[in-house]
Amino acid sequence: MRVAVDVGRCRGAGLCALTAPDVFDQDEEDGTVLVLDPEPPPAHQQAVVAAARLCPNSVISLEDT
């Protein structure tokens, strides 16, 4: 799995960092998404899928690798 984000769409709600904290964090200045691990191991993939679906601005896209 490969994780990509469109930071321009991000409004810092934080659902990704809440749902998949091993993979997402937020910028300290403006709260926008940071990807900690663009190729998360299987153990985190379920949380990443949930985070992508929860995101209120469809910032996160996932690709199979």
């Binding site: 409004r11 810092g12 709600a13 934080g14 937020q26 403006d30």
Partner: protein, 426 residues
């Protein structure tokens, strides 16, 4: 802002469309009468099944739409073709008193009533202050505040009103410390929030309260300009970079917005959530026996209770289609969060409170660019608050029958006016 005011004069909004025919011929008004204290009005279920994007009559005589299914509400709130700014003049519950029309004018800093890019600029200035990381760092302080209030409550003569002893003061103190608002002033700002968020406040009183809030926050901003402290307001005041530099008027409006939103909503979730748990004993027992469920329980209570009870209003910026119906540019649309969160198409056993419900993509905080800025703070307060209350008061129970608990049917944010509770001596 040099943009035109948010509300369109009503005459400019096209409303020639005929209302949908309904049984009895009456026009559909926003359903507001609840059959039971925890459930949205039953009319929403009928609408979801038969008329999911329904023609809606507004109290001022205008017409728009009511969207009640989860998938439509979610898609609509994320649609860039809708406007929050132009929806300021549309109230589906009450006609805005003529004297208070100026309250519908957008003011600098009031970003919840703005569209991108104005909204984006303000939001970006604030989101860094409400990240998951920052809110998690507040946990020890919130735990202390919760423990202090529960200790004080234990010494009070029973029955105790849980709203006054716990649900309202905890988030009030937390937001005061975060913003840098003196907690000693709580009686004033709590009263003003209550007056502003009531459906029955008359026009002159609304303006009076608005002016009081402005005066109060202006004095606070000026004091912090002279003597900055370690708080969010001082931080905003201290910014001198071009995107971050804010006028006093912007700071006053942002400060008041965060102060109201920061205590009123969480206070109602804490009190109403406690009432829901006390009246669903198996759910309370499940949470008590497994405190690790508290995070799921918080999400489930948010879904089940949907305290933004009348939904969110937007206006179509252009012609668009919602659930197969054609919405014209300029028409207001009410997205019912409460109905969406009980949509059986999305949530199995949607009307059941189930604290062990897993993945719950509820819309209690809204969706799209305006989704609640303070949601991670609210989560922390609820997690800490419910967990400690349940642990510290194992015999907590209602002191009156459920039918005697005064519900906030008359307020834009649902909840309880009072919650008389009692418990056994240890």
């Amino acid at each position: 802002m040099d943009k035109p005011a948010g509300s369109l004069p009503t005459a400019q909004i096209p409303r020639q469309r005929k209302p949908t025919a309904r049984s009895g011929g009456a026009e559909l008004r926003l359903p507001t009468t609840r059959e039971s204290p925890f459930d949205p009005p039953a009319e929403y279920r009928r609408l979801q099944d038969e008329d999911p994007v329904a023609r809606l009559a507004f109290p001022d005589g205008s017409h728009g739409w009511l969207v009640s299914r989860y998938e439509h509400v979610r898609a609509l709130l994320a649609d860039p073709r809708i406007s929050s700014e132009r929806a300021l003049g549309s109230n589906p519950v009450r006609e805005v008193p003529p004297e208070a029309r100026e309250l519908q004018q957008i003011r600098p800093g009031q970003f919840i009533g703005m569209d991108p890019p104005d909204h984006t600029r303000y939001r970006r200035l604030l989101t860094g202050q409400f990240t998951v990381r920052r809110m998690n760092a507040l946990v020890p302080r919130v735990e202390r505040i919760v423990a202090d209030h529960l200790d004080a409550m234990r010494e009070m003569p029973r029955p105790v009103d849980l709203v006054r002893a716990f649900a309202l003061p905890v988030p009030s103190l937390v937001i005061c410390e975060l913003l840098g608002v003196p907690y000693a002033d709580r009686a004033q700002f709590q009263r003003r929030s209550r007056t502003l968020l009531s459906m029955t406040t008359d026009g002159p009183t609304l303006l009076e309260v608005r002016d009081e809030m402005d005066g109060y926050m202006r004095a606070l901003v000026q004091a912090k300009r002279e003597r900055p402290e370690d708080d969010l307001l001082s931080g905003l005041i201290g910014r001198t970079d071009p995107p971050g530099r804010l006028s006093d008027e912007e700071l006053v409006n942002i400060g008041n917005l965060l102060l109201i939103a920061g205590h009123e909503t969480t206070a109602n979730m804490l009190a109403l959530g406690t009432l829901a748990l006390l009246t669903h004993p198996p759910q309370l027992a499940a949470l008590r026996s497994d405190p690790g469920l508290v995070e799921q329980a918080v999400e489930e209570l948010l879904r089940y209770l949907s305290i933004v009870q009348f939904g969110l209003v937007r206006v179509a910026k252009e012609d668009l289609e919602v659930g197969g119906r054609s919405v014209c540019a300029g028409e207001p649309i009410v997205a019912s969060l409460a109905a969406a969160n009980r949509d059986p198409r999305q949530f199995p056993d949607a009307d059941e409170l189930d604290v062990s419900r897993r993945y719950s993509p509820h819309l209690a905080f809204g969706h799209g660019v305006h989704q609640c800025l303070g949601q991670q703070l609210a989560r922390v307060e609820m997690k800490v608050g419910f967990r400690a209350l349940i642990e510290e008061f194992p015999s907590l129970r209602l002191a009156v029958p459920l039918s005697r608990v005064p519900m906030r049917d008359d307020m834009f944010v649902y909840g309880v006016h009072e919650l008389p509770v009692t418990w056994d001596e240890p």
